[in-house]
């Protein structure tokens, strides 16, 4: 009986130690493990001009402008606190849209515009059935189709 209790206490102490180390490690990683920087972080001077980085945020409503070459788009990335204009030449994912999240690989230019080499779309945690009437054109709402 006694040996069993000793082992239990030892295991509990060791587990607390490991969990503590994990929490310390994770909190130390807090900033480094971030997948992207937000516009507010960029504005606060956490990144350097010309340094490769990822910028993540919402595409501001009404901000997408397509240039006359048909490939280059300009839009504004925002996190509610700060906004940064972004320029991208290429094909964006289907889910890339205004009022929706995106992550861009690229670098800040000296004039304050973020030039992206690649754009990923970010989905939020909400999953909704399509509403009648505002359904995307090429999607079917057919139960048992």
């Amino acid at each position: 009986m006694k040996a069993k209790h000793q082992r239990l206490i030892l295991a509990a102490v060791a587990l607390c130690g490991v969990a503590g180390a994990g929490v310390l490690g994770a909190s130390a990683l807090r900033d480094e493990a971030a997948y992207f920087r937000t516009p507010a972080e960029v504005k606060a001077g956490k990144t350097m001009v010309g340094e490769p980085m990822r910028l993540g945020g919402m595409v501001a409503a009404g901000s997408i402008r397509r240039q006359s070459d048909g490939l280059t788009i300009d839009f504004v990335a925002t996190d509610g606190k700060a906004s940064i204009p972004v320029q991208f030449k290429g094909i964006v994912p289907d889910l890339f849209a205004e009022n929706s999240g995106m992550v861009a690989d690229g670098r800040m230019r000296a004039d304050g515009i973020f030039v992206a080499d690649r754009i990923l779309a970010k989905h939020d945690e909400r999953y909704m059935p399509p509403q009648m009437g505002e359904m995307p054109k090429n999607m079917k709402l057919a139960p048992g189709e």
């Binding site: 060791a14 490991v18 807090r30 997948y35 889910l95 909400r126 999953y127 909704m128």
Partner: protein, 244 residues
Amino acid sequence: MHAYANPTRFLAIAKPLTPWLLGVGLLLVIGGAWAGLMMVPGEAKQGETARILYVHVPSAWLGMGGWTSLALAGLVQLVWRHPLAGIAARAIAVPGMLFCALCLATGSIWGRPTWGTWWEWDGRMTSMLVLLFLYAGFVALTSGDEGQRQGGSLSRGAAIYALVGAINIPIINRSVVWWNSLHQGPSITLGGSSIDGALLWPLGLTVLGFSLLFGAIVLMRMRRIIADNRVAARLRRLADDEGN
């Protein structure tokens, strides 16, 4: 709990339970997959792509749940020395690894059309890949070791490895909250679900169904390890008799 730690008593329950878990699990998975593919509408923004949810979420749940039970078995083995705990941990490792791999594969297939990439090193994906490697390490550590010849119990090193690896489970769970990531935040929390009810119910069927299947596979593998042990013990006795 001590009562079920006896392999004979365990077998008396596991044997009749296995076909039930297998049958009901299969029915639920087939029903949930049918409902998810055929009956519910496509998601408003993602369209048909989001239907992979009904496999991706149960895989993630079982990959993480598998390691959680594996770590608990490691703890029971270390502290109480139950003969079944090591057998359970050995039985869980391979199916847990399989579901972890399924989660990564379905996530990758889902990521390409929605995010625009097969793979990114964000917190969620990286920590889930670490879990796959942890499983691989555990399988390597416990296959063909001394414990296999001693009734299936884990070596102390393997049990400690299982416990230490468990630290990755809360990290996977919180990765999308602690760090900004490409993967979206949690949809289903204690507070409710941000997956609309019209899309959610087949997920309940597949999560429960895959969990029952997982249980059936683990029970079958445990029975096989126990049977192997008995064969080995009998062969040893026979060899001893001949030697005398």
